[in-house]
Symmetry: C2
């Protein structure tokens, strides 16, 4: 599919598709036509952009997205390294979930408490174990 189609399928702009391509987040972008130099983006890249959007939404940088996708896919990486890397990403994810839970329960308590404000206890709860 051409850039317009992948852009509308994924909900990002054409410029964003080009940016991702330049940053190495997409794969197998070809120019299969004789009479023009239009590019072709495969379904694979639709999935990639979907993953990127999902990961971005929860705070991953594009570089992190790239490293995760690469680790999932990269056949040149040693299997052991790939597994270790993915395991470390799992740990990162767990850690983020813990942080979010703290924020959530903190907000909930604040609400339950009729929004009484106490910034010290806030941070204690947010950072706290």
């Amino acid at each position: 599919m051409k850039i317009g189609e992948i852009a509308s399928k994924t909900g990002v702009s054409r410029d964003t598709v080009r940016l991702y391509e330049k940053l190495g987040l997409l794969v197998n972008v070809t120019r299969p036509y004789e009479y023009n130099n239009y590019k072709e983006y495969g379904q694979e890249n639709v999935y990639r952009i979907g993953m990127i959007k999902e990961m971005q939404r929860i705070g991953l940088k594009l570089k992190e997205c790239k490293s995760v996708i690469d680790a999932l896919v990269n056949d040149e990486m040693q299997m052991d390294d790939r597994k270790a890397f993915i395991q470390s990403k799992i740990e990162d994810t767990k850690e983020k979930i813990r942080s979010l839970r703290k924020i959530q329960s903190f907000l909930q308590e604040h609400l339950d408490n009729d929004c009484a404000y106490n910034s010290e206890s806030m941070v204690a709860k947010l950072k706290g174990n």
Copy 2:
């Protein structure tokens, strides 16, 4: 405390403290000295910077941090509005946790599956219900 102290207490740079101040993320910054114009940052702001760092780490923009803190604190907001706002932040947080959980279990399955790559199923799992 002066800027150097709050910076080292919170682990951000002096420039960052000044930036946050300019963006309205800090409160009650005064200039209480007669012979210089050094500023004073209270303990309150140590907590604020702590909260900001925690929220930033999980992907919130400074503007979001500000709106959350403001809703927690702002006495000019109607109580009902504050509660509604905080409730909506709780929902956002839950949603992010859901996404992270999907990513986590997805990574885990990938690992358990000896890193067999299938991008279609990836996105299905990430976006999927």
